[in-house]
Symmetry: C2
Subunit: 312 residues, 2 copies
């Protein structure tokens, strides 16, 4: 299994990415993966305090990179040799089994659509985030920013994509799908959720439990939370803000700590033809290890094949 | 000043409402208000452990009430003698200077529109919520649920209504207005925020600072947060959920405690002709005291006259 990692992406690149690679090499559950490091070879050599000649590593050199603040579409079309563009190209060609980056999220999204492409039948690929549950479990929320304005049919696909992810990657049996709204009653919500509700209800391939509210997000009542990308992104960042402020004030709590997005293994772009993993810009070395781990799980779970066959 | 209180509204009515009245009667800053208690006289007498013959109290009897789960429009049109309908009628007639209830929010909203009516020129009255800031201050977010789908022009009015509230009730000079979105850049957001941004920018009567993200909500960068009622309600309830879970886990923190919506004095419906205050369904006695206090501040601040003159 060949997993590509963008060493130039993220606020602390390449140092933290390289540290992450070093840690991944000694993790026993990752002993069967080959890591393809995409980035500036001399900078990688400068930072690496381990043997880069290992048979478990390859380096694909490029000194071009997409900055965090660059305009995604422009950057992807102009910087064909950037670490993100190169990684996605290798992935599309089959030279990689998965590709992960903590770089510019928009560029990863746009680049994936251009290069790896949406699975046939998928209206809009989606970005998801893991949601810590008070019980100790983990749910999934999507979309969280790839699609600010969404058509009802695309929302139904989010429910489907999220359910398959929850089932095959998070290993949740018959995952419960909730529609994020402003009241539990079916008629509550905005025009979009009111249009989506009956479509979800009629869809036999998912386990729809109805509307959920903001305060239900952390509860076990629902595994997959479906929303438009505007609402999802605002909720995600509100939680991040809450977490950040409370940690800054010294609050110690196990549940709260699970909102530390630095420790997340990133998130998959759901609905494209290959496993693509996006990490948070502020990723530290442990995040990179988790991104590699998620890449492996995505390949092993054969999630993309399962999405493809479910859309036939 | 005659302030009306619905004694039948809220999950713990009438007991907590009556306890709140008892507390309000001994608060020195409320010594100049006359309280009009609207509800079932015999139940009020059963619960009250203080002198109901005080010259500072009147009782308006009704044994009809709107339940928390009732359909707002139906309830308001059918239950003309409910405590909510009666309170709003007295307010519209001028027999009250303000009216507060912790009952069915939808019914309060619909009833206010039918009876007290929107101020001429106001497209859609709005529900707001106070937002605790880490610095210790308080901001305002609106809309938080009255308008799930909003036109750009109505969002601009929310900014205006919120600014006037922040200035005259919260006493914030030249309040900074932020548009809740999914990126700070002006082109980020959904179709609605993209349409609203230039309108806010062109509006000389408010102090627009641009887009803010979910993680900025608790910061001082912005005093008035403008959003559609769907997004605002989801954010509000997500914060409530976060607060509730952390308190349940025993987390003690001063900033966190300020998210205790039970201690809030409710929120005004902005854009109607008279001061109407809505309390949270789970209001306890202290909330009722604060609702009375907010009612008084709304009357004293002459907010409604200020809104009217700003719309001329």
């Amino acid at each position: 299994m060949r997993l590509g990692i963008d060493l130039m992406g993220g606020d602390y690149a390449p140092a933290e990415a390289i540290k992450g690679v070093e840690q991944a090499l000694v993790e026993s559950d990752l002993s069967d993966v080959h890591l393809v490091l995409i980035g500036d070879e001399s900078r990688i050599k400068d930072h690496a305090s381990f043997d880069l000649n290992s048979s478990r590593l390859s380096i694909v050199h490029t000194d071009e990179m997409i900055e965090m603040a660059e305009h995604p579409t422009r950057a992807v079309s102009q910087k064909r040799n950037s670490s993100i563009s190169l990684g996605l190209k290798l992935l599309a060609e089959g030279a990689l089994d998965a590709f992960a980056s903590a770089g510019n999220t928009g560029a990863m999204m746009v680049g994936s659509l251009y290069t790896v492409k949406a699975i046939e039948g998928v209206i809009r690929p989606s970005l998801s985030t893991l949601v810590p549950k008070v019980s100790g479990g983990t749910g999934l929320m999507l979309d969280v920013g790839a699609n600010a304005d969404v058509k009802p049919e695309a929302m139904v696909q989010f429910a489907k994509l999220g359910s398959l992810y929850a089932q095959h990657v998070l290993k949740i049996d018959n995952p419960k799908v909730g529609l994020l709204s402003i009241g539990h009653e079916r008629e509550k919500g905005n025009l979009l959720t009111q249009a989506v509700y009956p479509l979800l209800e009629d869809n036999r391939s998912i386990n729809f439990i109805g509307n959920i509210e903001g305060r239900d997000i952390f509860q076990d009542s629902c595994d997959v939370i479906v929303c438009d990308g505007f609402t999802g992104n605002v909720v995600l960042k509100t939680c991040e803000g809450f977490f950040y402020q409370l940690k800054k004030r010294g609050v110690e709590d196990e549940f709260l700590d699970r909102f530390n997005f630095k420790d997340y293994g990133g998130t998959a772009i759901l609905g494209v033809n290959k496993p693509v993993v996006i990490g948070h810009g502020i990723s530290k070395s442990s995040t990179f290890v988790n991104m590699i781990r998620l890449s492996k799980r995505l390949v092993q779970s054969r999630l993309i094949e399962k999405i493809k066959s479910s859309l036939i």
